[in-house]
């Protein structure tokens, strides 16, 4: 697991299609790049630093064209050996590349870690440092906010459980070491059980998360509006064919149509609701109920209005119904605005005009925007942390009983610390607290 080579996506959150830059820094950067990138003249003996090489990047799942540049220490941003890959910016591609780099021994960087290294190596560019400060914490805040939400409930539960087993294990052994005369009970056997349980949990978590291709939750968007205002066209515009459509939930009636697509690593679920109005029709009533539910469960409601028609009483009462939810008022049919209304944005769903702007607005209003960059990395970090914890844990179990307790504790605490990086808790006092809540010690 040893590595002080770090990797991160350096480009800000641009949507699919743009160029993405992945940066690696550390003593293994060049070695990793040599292994996974090939181009004319790209070999250790002949590489010219600071030159862009066009070539092929290879991961387990795909082969893609990319540029690669090597900045030799100390003449780089961080002062260490740095590799930059400029690739297609699609989410799957960027993630695939990062994962490959991690598999080859790099570690996903913490928020601001490149900058920190630059500082420590006396390489901090003053001009560059202006303005970075705000970004770093914004990024890390958003990550903390999103991290657990984006992890499926099951996985986060498993991580918490595993770290609890490790806490039990560490406090058992520490209590016996710090209070050898007072802890009379056998802690050795139950501790091994805790370690094995933690290992089992982590192994399963890792397997689950590797199998899971997409984040299970995501942003829920409800499209609301009267009939024929252009909801379906907007739906189609959102689901441009260059975006991967994820699922078509079976059993969804035409009353509430759900479509999902991936946007920069976030799953977006769009619910197109039927027009909500009073109705005696039994079938329609069911549809209306579903629509109401979709609106209730939405993170944001897109309220679509037809600018070519006059504002009706029906429209007003429908707006009344959603106005307390987070929402965006959208004026559609922007090419024929006859009756302008108060709106957050004007679009043309048919020609996709301003739909990109609408997406930015959605991202901003739902608070996902600032986290986009971090999120994907956060996931990689989590996976890395679990792997790291597992490696320490395996060593602890392997040597259990063969080495003195204080040595086993080095591995247990390292595993525990890795998991705490995910849950964000503080290691130092938690073990002491656990000792005193569990054992009657101290005199």
């Amino acid at each position: 697991m040893k590595s002080d080579t770090i990797v991160a996506i350096a480009t800000p959150s641009e949507r699919a299609g743009a160029i993405g830059i992945i940066r690696i820094s550390g003593s293994n950067a060049l070695k990793i790049a040599e292994e996974m990138f090939s181009a004319k003249g790209w070999c250790k003996e002949t590489i010219i630093p600071n030159k862009m090489y066009l070539g092929k990047i290879k991961t387990k799942n795909f082969l893609d064209k990319a540029f690669c540049m090597y900045c030799k220490a100390p003449h780089s941003y961080t002062g260490e050996d740095v590799i930059e890959f400029h690739s297609h910016g699609g989410i799957a591609i960027l993630r695939g590349i990062v994962r490959e780099i991690v598999d080859r021994g790099a570690r996903p960087a913490e928020a601001g870690e490149f900058t920190r290294r630059a500082y420590l190596n006396g390489k901090m560019d003053l001009a560059e440092s202006e303005g970075i400060a705000d970004m770093i914490n914004a990024e890390s805040e958003a990550e903390i906010m999103q991290a657990f939400r984006l992890m499926s409930g099951e996985i986060s539960k498993a991580i918490v459980e595993a770290s609890n087993h490790l806490l039990e294990a560490a406090s058992n052994l520490e209590a016996a070491l710090d209070y050898p005369e007072e802890v009379a009970e056998d802690v050795i056997t139950p501790t091994l059980v805790e370690l094995k349980k933690a290992k089992e949990k982590l192994t399963k978590t890792l397997k689950d998360s590797e199998n899971r291709r997409y984040i299970t939750e995501g942003i829920n968007i409800a499209l609301a509006g009267l009939t024929n205002v252009g909801k379906s066209s907007l739906m189609n515009a959102l689901l441009r064919d260059d975006r991967a459509i994820v699922t078509d939930i079976p059993g969804t009636t035409r009353d509430v149509l759900k479509e999902s697509f991936m946007l920069d690593g976030v799953k977006i679920n769009v619910f197109d609701t039927a027009g909500i109005r009073e109705s005696q029709d039994k079938v329609e009533k069911i549809g209306i109920e579903r629509a109401k539910k979709a609106i209730e469960g939405a993170d944001i409601v897109l309220f679509v209005m037809d600018a070519s028609l006059e504002e009706t009483k029906e429209e007003l009462s429908l707006y009344e119904y959603i106005k307390d939810k987070k929402h965006i008022r959208i004026e559609n049919k922007g090419d024929i605005v006859k009756y302008p209304r108060k709106a957050d944005i004007t679009i043309e769903a048919n020609t996709s005009k301003n739909v990109d702007k609408l997406i930015s607005l959605i991202m901003k209003k739902t608070g996902v925007e600032k986290s986009l960059n971090g999120m994907m990395l956060t996931r990689e970090r989590h996976i890395y942390a679990v792997k790291e914890a597992l490696a320490h844990l395996e060593e602890a179990i392997k040597a259990y009983g063969l080495v003195p307790t204080e040595c086993t504790l080095v591995d247990i605490k390292a595993a525990y610390a890795s998991l705490l990086k995910i849950t964000g808790e503080d290691l130092s006092e938690s073990i002491v607290d656990k000792i005193f809540s569990k054992f009657c010690v101290g005199k």
Binding site: L120, G122, A133, N137, E174, D178, P404, E406, V410
Partner: protein, 638 residues
Amino acid sequence: MYELKNNKYEAIVIGAGHAGVEAANALAVRGHKTLILSLSLDGIANMACNPNIGGTGKAHLVKEVDALGGLMGEVADIATIQTRTLNSANGPAVHSLRAQVDKMLYQRTMKKRLEEIKNLDILEGEAKQIIVDENNKICGVETALGAKYFAEVVILATGVYLNSRIIIGDHSEWTGPSGFKGSTLLTQNLIDLGLDIRRFKTGTPPRLLASSIDFSKMEIQEGHLGNPKFSSMTDFDLRNDHPCFLTYTTKESHKIILDNLDRSPLFNGDITGTSTRYCPSVEDKIVKFRDKERHQVFIEPEGADTHEMYAQGLSTSLPFDVQEALVRSVPGLEKAKITRYGYGIEYDCMNPLELLPSLGLKKYKGLFAAGQINGTSGYEEAAAQGLIAGINASKQIRGEEPFILRRDQAYIGVLIDDLTTKGTNEPYRMMTSRAEHRLYLRQDNADLRLTEIGRELGLVSDERYDRYLKKEKELKEIRKNLSEKYKVKDIEYIFERRGETLPKTEGVLAKELLKRNYITSEDLREISPTFASFSPENVKIIETELKYEGYLRKQKRAIKESLRLESVKLPEDMDYLNIDGLRIEARQKLNKVKPLTVAQAERISGVNPADITVLLLYLRKKNAKTNIDDSCSPETDE
């Protein structure tokens, strides 16, 4: 007003307990004319509670104090009447020497030592106030008598004496421990100086008359042989002729306590000070762990010249009649005569976040604090702080940079960093689990880690230094011989003895042997005349280094980055509240602690790695503006 003639000092230490004596010694040995004040000269280095020195984590502190030229180790060795090594079943990093100490002998020996120190005056008296001039500069101390003593540095080492109140059931008095009077005047002065004063609580068990105890009903606990000593200056064998005894509380004891909880000041609200989880009272233990059938009670001698015994485990502030019943409910103590009742004691102390890692106060240059006033518990913790406060008070007088031990150098570093970075909400006790560098911070290498540093500080005598050099030299010799090779067929018996299979190779090196977990340095000394010629302790140290090697490397890797951040200094006067980009919580925490290095900032809970990067960016900008060279010279990785 009458003016004293000889009242000009360089340093004044208030309090002559375990912290005060070390502080005074360090100052005087470093050549400063020093005054130490004590409420009672019979209370110098008084062991008000348990009759032991050392134990887990604490032994390490004593060894470190000794390596730095402190007094505790030498005096403890002289006063020892029994020793045990705790954790001997585990590895050397957690082996902890624990000595039963003759309290009176300890006290007398320490008093005499102090009296013999050049540059040091000892005076009985109560400090009334710290004399501070209009620029908040420390000028000296005024006593209750109205006498003034002048010095540019003052060290507060007041222990549990500030506004101390002793509580036994519904009876309480404003007095100090062990029958000594308390200090009633100084707290108000400290509050007036704007310091954050709080109230902590601790306690002590009843003392019993040995002749009234039936020891046959208890497990005897003899000392262990072959233990190390606290001081590398000690040549004589430590006494080991006073056993301890182990007995247990009974169901009856628990019933007595539970029936009388309404009379317990801990539970009826009379005691408001924060007590510590590290030394719980017996009523605490029984309430908190109701399911536990019995609790240990160790009966330990208070000294060699007394028949009083200390009832470790029965610490209590219950009324005297309940104490009588409680004691008699314990097997072997049915007829025990109580000579002194147990009591709880509340006292004023200070929030350690008032302190810099030098143990100097942030608000007053020249004012230092050490020991229980800083929110710790324990003689050893106090001594360690006293030594550091004394050194730094001297550094201040000389205008030198403060002396700060890092967490990877010493338990003393861990202790002071914990106090000044995290603070504490209860009396703090050292534990080995607090030291992330535990495998390296051992009692067997405290002298190797710190003697050179102590020498530079001028605290290590020629004799002590020579002993250290001799040890270093022999270790070097031993390391040189680690490639000595043995034929497997010649040393078969060593493997057979342990029931292990023979190595497949023809020959095996000494270092390969020592790395195996079933082969000891004694085995090596048995098979090799070369190693037999070295001292067993030193071969053992090499064995320990080899056995820990892999784990030490792992630990080092985990903390490398933090070590780099230790070299990045933060100005004391930094205004964190106005640094853009820092989260509000981080701003507040940083502003409260005012860390001296970025590494210390990183250890504050509530400050995350992103905040640290923001801080580094801020430093870069700030230093660029003021044209200060901030280039730190980090070692290259790997």
